[in-house]
Symmetry: C2
């Protein structure tokens, strides 16, 4: 029997959609790695009664651990510690040593702010943050807010601050506390595998599952989830270690039907696969000349640390003049075929190679919308070309669905897959 957990994200600004939550997904991943089953994530505003109701709901559902994020700041609307103490039936007490440590952290931080600081306000905030429920284990602050492990009736509450840069290291220190270790003691180890496919529609995956089952592949011990993500299909499977053979049989069935479109068997992203292929040895360098993606292609290639080893740079050529002057596209070509055309994509890829001295070039031109479409070339029309210096090349002209942001993002996904094909010697 695996341990179960619930997550409670607090903050009116998260609930109201003004900022998006990064902590729920991150914590879910960490729980999964440790074999802890996540039952629910609840998002509540800054009203104490709503937070209290969420804690009680999670506890009633029988979880072993509730993890809260947010509401530990110095201002009056930060109420998580108080509400959790009340839920656990524990008094709030001032931890004076903690108060001194928070004050010392603030001293170092205030050097950054050149305006005047209100000493009283800061002292009051510090005292508030140093109030902890009796019997709780304190987690040292990474920012200024301490975390807490609070034992309650039949459940342990792990209280973490909202900023991801604080929450993440404090999760790791929480794992070292006796209190959290005891609460998670029931956790087994679950395996998780992720297959990624680029190409088939989602209904084909449903069919594959049915075919596999009727062929005698045992699926009942595999928790299989399929989803569409940035134009790719992801098949995530969670299972107990003794169902490894079942997973192997399932994976074989997927590979048999979809082999050519399965690009990752171990959760690797297309970004990571492209990076690894570029790093070689030998290292091959890449450059971009892009129009409708407006820098996002280069931005995505440089997301990964260490990308300076293989990304030389890029040209964002939004205007026709820039296409000509920066990427060397013949203005005649644009006049003849239009800025959004396979011919201009080819010229952009070649221009990226020539202007940056790269081994490989990506050329992108398209209509991201919402305006600029025509009957012949509607919004979502994108032409891509990926080329090797003096060598192979793959080109595509696509009709992508969705909003401006979706068209721009999916275009970068397609380009990475084309680049991977070229790097694997599968241009054709």
């Amino acid at each position: 029997m695996s341990a179960r957990a619930g997550i409670v994200i607090t903050g009116t600004e998260v609930l109201s959609g003004i900022i998006s939550d990064r902590n729920g997904p991150w914590l879910a991943g960490r729980l999964r790695e440790r074999g802890v089953h996540l039952a629910h994530t609840t998002i509540v505003g800054d009203r104490p009664s709503d937070l209290r109701a969420a804690l009680e709901f999670q506890a009633r559902e029988g979880v072993d651990v509730i993890i809260t994020s947010g509401g530990l700041g110095p201002t009056a609307d930060d109420l998580t510690a108080d509400v959790v103490a009340e839920f656990a039936g524990r008094e709030m007490q001032l931890d004076e040593a903690l108060e001194r440590r928070i004050a010392a952290i603030l001293e170092r931080l205030r050097a950054r702010w050149r305006g005047e600081i209100d000493e009283d306000a800061m002292r009051e905030g510090t005292r508030k943050q140093a109030m902890v429920p009796a019997g709780a284990t304190v987690l040292e602050p990474v920012g200024t807010a301490p975390g807490l492990v609070v034992p309650a009736d039949g459940v342990t509450v792990l209280v973490l601050p909202g900023p991801p840069g604080e929450l993440q290291p404090m999760w790791r220190s929480a794992l070292e506390t006796d209190a959290l270790q005891a609460a998670l003691a029931g956790a087994g180890v679950l395996e998780q595998r992720i297959l990624r496919l680029f190409g088939p529609p989602e209904s084909e995956i449903a069919k594959t599952l049915r075919v596999a089952e009727s062929d005698g592949v045992p699926l009942d011990r595999l928790e299989i989830t399929t989803c569409l993500r940035r134009g790719e299909i992801e098949i995530a499977t969670v299972f107990e270690p003794d169902a490894t053979d079942d997973y192997a049989a399932f994976e074989a069935a997927v590979l048999e039907r979809h082999g050519a479109t399965v690009f990752a068997r171990d959760g690797e992203t297309i970004d990571e696969l492209v990076a690894a292929a570029l790093l070689g040895p030998p290292v091959r360098t890449v450059a971009v000349a892009e129009s409708c993606t407006g820098g996002l292609m280069a931005g995505r290639l440089t997301d990964l640390a260490g990308s300076s080893a293989y990304v030389l740079g890029g040209l964002t050529v939004y205007s026709n003049e820039a296409k000509a002057s920066l990427a060397g596209v013949d203005p005649e070509l644009i006049a003849r075929h239009g800025a959004v055309s396979p011919e201009v994509a080819v010229a952009l890829a070649d221009g990226a190679i020539a202007r940056l001295g790269a081994d490989l070039g990506i050329g992108i031109t398209g209509i991201a919308g919402p305006g600029g479409g025509s009957e012949e070339k509607p919004v979502g029309t994108v032409c891509l070309s990926v080329a090797e210096r003096g060598g192979a090349r793959v080109d595509r002209m696509l009709q992508l669905p969705g909003s401006r942001a979706m068209v721009r993002e999916r275009t970068t996904t397609v380009a990475l897959h084309l680049l991977r094909r070229l790097l694997d010697g599968r241009a054709a």
Copy 2:
């Protein structure tokens, strides 16, 4: 008394953090606009019992409407309609006319997929999607999944599909149904205002609230939330229309203490303000030469529709060779001051102007990490320069905290604020 709503997001892939939820925040915004108070958002996996528990929790909390997203697809793990029917005590029935309409949609879509299609699988999926709870109002599919408005005991459940491109238009058609209008009849109209500040630490805002209150500004009818976002402070306030004077007094207090740092009083983003300033008249054009942001600065400038009117393009100059050959940075300058230096940032801004023929140029060079830092120039060191052709200029050398992704994102925020200052004639 305003109507209350709850949101239930379904999907193991969302709960487990594999994909992030965009529907909860979007629906929250739409509810707020209509004066509906959102109590909780709950995220559940694809287990029917967890979804059922979440529906019961929301109903017990006394909401008038529960909105669900996801779980309406053709595969066996898509169970939302069944669970909601059970929750509402209604039988599932086949809607044959709906089945024919879904089949017609699929006929048009299948043209896209060049592989073989399994006819039986597709027919079975279509039939599943055409099963609706007795007495429910059907919302026409935008993709292939219909939505539902399902009356239950004391609460109305609005069932929407997961893909945001389907959910959003179907929310609008749901608002036109009698069933949902009746459920939301209690909703009043709430006002929402957003102030955005760039500069002060969050504790100063807490102080401002206290000072305002002690000066007699009535805050008790304002629901004020402050949060840090991409390096900016956002103060979001929700209030009933007859508290408009209270809000005006509060806003005046914030402006008095923080006037110089308040850049938006009506929720405008810095991106929108920069776009409006560039559009003039007269239109002024901008170009970018960026290193550590690797294309994200140009990508952010071109996020907005219509940006081709003022963004000429950009140079992503990751390598020193690219800085020299593309942006015309003197290699001597790099050798003397280092690639990350105020001097090189200035040269990049000037290079962007010269190479793209722009009115304004942004130059960015820095160390996004995690590697590449030194004692003198640690990770997070970023030099920015924003210049007018032959005119004013603003430069900054910063030390930004956080991860590689945070450093890259915050750098673009700072650059937009510097650009705005220059456009407002406040360089100095």
